[in-house]
Amino acid sequence: MHLLASLAAHGWHPAAWRVSAATGFEGVSSFRDAARTAERGGLDAVLLGLPTAPMAARQKGTLDSLHLDPLPLLGALIGVTKRIGLCGYWPADVAEPYHVARVFATLDHLAGGRTGWIAGLDGPTELAQRFQKPDLPISGPDADARFVELIDVARQLWDSWEDESFTVDQKTGTFAVSERVHPIEHEGRFFTVRGPLNVPRPVQGQPVILYRDRPFDPARAALALSAEIVLAECATVAEAQARRAEWRGLAGKQERDDGDVRLVARVMPILAGTEEEATRRAAELDGLVPPLAGGAPRFVGTPERFAAWMIEWNASGACDGFDILPAVMSIDLAVVVEHVVPVLRRRGVRSAGYSGSTLRQQFGLERAASRYAA
């Protein structure tokens, strides 16, 4: 069972900041603490930069509306962690593929192959005001098509240096084998990119590609070519089963093994030692700020019952793992690490420690092969 955690400044319940020890802004330190806690629990990866609430809700002034750029944040976590995967959300709406490829190649080198790119679209309500670009499709089929092409170009750029191309042979003075570094000469509907990338091939070949799924996503069929971890918000087992089956089927149509795409269900746990205490915590949080409509389902209860709930979803084919959205970071993430993970280990669905040194190895995903390799 994959186990990830989405980090936030205070937590994923909109009232989290009101019950946190520090209600204000702590910069990077709360993220450092959370990443270390997650690593202590042997979680596969932490996810950075996914929005905790839509803009309309954030602008009322009653929510923790903080958003740090996940790229420097991811960088800052490299030196304070050793094994855990570090994934950053970079919405594609206004992004350029050369930037995405260059930054994630850099991060993957610095982190020794522990990175993943969370691709997704923020959509016009988040971005249209901030990036008013008349020639840019910000919604609809063109935005989807641009998104699909952007992922394709980024992957071509990561492939543009073959594995054996970066020789740095001091004796002969040959830095790179020119013939093994390829201009990609991409000419598409939205992007014209010559390449090659000016960063050698990432440690993992390509960083892991996570995809932030949308409830009704017209681009799913095309995205099934590249998505490896799908982050989905499904309210019920049946919905998750259907969504997972759909993704696996679409991956099959792209001539991938259906196990090459993993559905990870997002869930917000509110945990406590007894059912009564957990229910009381949930009521307290909801009383402070009513829960937002939609989004990830929540689980209220004890760590033992949460573990059993996860195992049941996992066993029924609803998902390949979970993205934990701690209701209150300083409470619920620690409870997951100290009380949920040990149960999952005892039940044999999580192993202790990390396998290998890269995030791909941890997920059991193949190293990405370069399309240019002979």
Binding site: W17, R18, V19, T23, G24, F25, G27, V28, Q59, G61, T62, L63, D64, S65, L66, H67, L68, D69, L71, P72, L73, G75, A76, I78, G79, V94, E96, Y98, H99, R102, V103, T106, L107, L110, G112, Q129, R130, F131, Q132, K133, V168, Q170, G173, T174, F175, A176, S178, E179, V181, P183, F191, T192, V193, R194, G195, P196, N198, V199, P200, L288
Partner: protein, 443 residues
């Protein structure tokens, strides 16, 4: 007047700044992209009480006729990632990351640098470039690189938007009243509504104002348009003049232009690039330089020369004089570095090969070869004659040559009263003696 003190940066580079630096036997070439490589640089710089660690930015591979240069060197990898990663291994050192205004969007970059300034607790600087490399356009769906005057107009508007966004939150906008349920006072967050020649941006950052208000505004590039831009916005300049007379002229030109924009020239810190090659005797230093230059593959020098002069020199005899008349006739808008090298080639009769070594060896920045005493004399002379306010040190290779500088040159500078013996503040603005910008001020 008391002795002015130097400000020092260290410019990272995978391998080192001498183009053949990565071939030096002390370098582990397979480590030059990893975290530990950059962490060690940062820790060494902090040990030497450096003001800052500087990382450049390039948006296209070094290539000739569609192929990367096999004997060349790699560009800097992403500057924000490096600086964010190693900031946690240090407490005082500042960090300057380079990002282009030609190939980015202001809202995203304002958020990125605000985050970096928070992540580093007020130690961030932004080297604002417009990207000089024509090839970058081909990686960003553009047919050609934007013309220079337009690039700088865009840069000015870009930076103004960023400043407005950084200033958006009043210092007391974050209320964080958990009991009362008010996180921010929305009336104290100004929603920008900008419509200009290049950009339209509405909104505010989702971040409190960062510790320094704005990251330190750094500029590099010495063309007339770049110089004017520097006079308008720069607090620190990474300069490229390799000769003292040129450096004096450049620094005084920018300083003279600043009052026209209502700015005080005394705040400006001009840091020319400097590659020191050190030896315990002058002969030892010269031998080291010779050893490095012998490692330099001639093809790299000719390539760098051809790129910088926008003139294909590949088919010329390498020992013939640099054909400056043809090069001048072929192009215009040469960078000051190129003009300076052509003048020198005319005066001293330098061959193509010699010019190639010149540009490749120090990437056409200044260099000084000698004992620690000689290096200190050189630096003091430049400082005293108004050629600079300090230097951006470009070690020939990492880490040994940089550690030598920190262990042997820094103590001498300190003994001679030219350099701090301890950090006095905690932010990059503190180190550089720069004021924190007032909110809503328009510099």
């Amino acid at each position: 007047m008391s002795q002015r003190q130097l400000h020092l940066g260290v410019f990272t580079y995978p391998g080192g700044h001498h183009v053949a630096g990565w071939r030096h036997p002390s370098v582990d070439p397979h480590g030059i992209l990893g975290y530990d490589y950059y962490r060690q640089m940062a820790v060494t710089a902090e040990r030497g009480k450096f003001d800052l660690l500087f990382v450049g930015d390039m948006l296209a591979a070094r290539e000739k006729d569609g192929r990367v240069i096999a004997q060349g060197a790699l560009n800097n990898i992403d500057s924000i990632s490096i600086t964010a990663a190693v900031s946690g291994a240090t407490e005082k050192l500042g960090f300057v990351a380079t990002l282009s205004t030609t190939y980015n969007e202001p809202y995203a970059i304002a958020e990125r640098f605000a985050t970096l300034d928070h992540v580093t607790n007020g130690r961030a600087g932004w080297n604002i470039i417009t990207t000089a490399n024509d090839d970058a356009a081909l990686n960003f769906s553009r047919k050609s690189h934007m013309e220079k005057t337009l690039r700088y107009q865009r840069a000015k508007e870009f930076v103004d938007i960023c400043k407005d966004l950084w200033d958006g939150w009043a210092d007391d906008a974050l209320v964080a009243d958990g009991k009362g349920g008010r996180f921010v006072d929305a009336s104290k967050i100004r929603q920008l509504d900008h419509k200009g020649q290049f950009f339209a941006v509405k909104g505010a950052l989702d971040l409190p104002r960062s510790p320094q208000g704005w990251p330190v505004m750094v500029q590099a590039g010495g063309s007339p348009a770049g110089t004017e831009f520097a006079a308008q916005v720069a607090e620190t300049i990474f300069a490229a003049q390799g000769r003292r007379e040129e450096a004096i002229k450049f620094r005084s030109t920018v300083r003279e232009r600043m009052p026209a924009y209502g700015r005080d020239p005394e705040i400006l810190k001009v840091l020319p690039g400097l590659m020191p090659i050190l030896g315990s005797t002058e002969k030892e230093a010269l031998d080291k330089e010779k050893e490095l230059n012998e490692l330099l593959h001639p093809a790299v020098g000719i390539w760098m020369l051809s790129e910088q002069m926008k003139f294909r020199l590949y088919d010329y005899p390498q020992d013939a004089p640099l054909p400056t008349a043809e090069i001048r006739a072929n192009g215009s808008n040469f960078t000051p570095r190129v003009v300076s090298l052509m003048d020198r080639a005319d005066k001293e009769g330098l061959s193509i090969r010699q010019c190639g070594i010149q540009v490749a060896a120090s990437r056409s920045h200044g260099s000084v070869v000698g004992t620690p005493e000689q290096v200190v004399d050189h630096m003091k002379l430049w400082l005293d004659e108004g050629a600079c306010d300090g230097f951006n040190i470009m070690p020939a290779y990492f880490h040994d040559e940089f550690e030598l500088f920190v262990d042997q040159v820094i103590p001498l500078l300190q003994r001679r009263g030219l350099y701090r013996t301890e950090y006095e503040g905690t932010t990059l603005r503190d180190h550089l003696g720069l004021p924190k910008p007032e909110r809503f001020s328009k510099a």
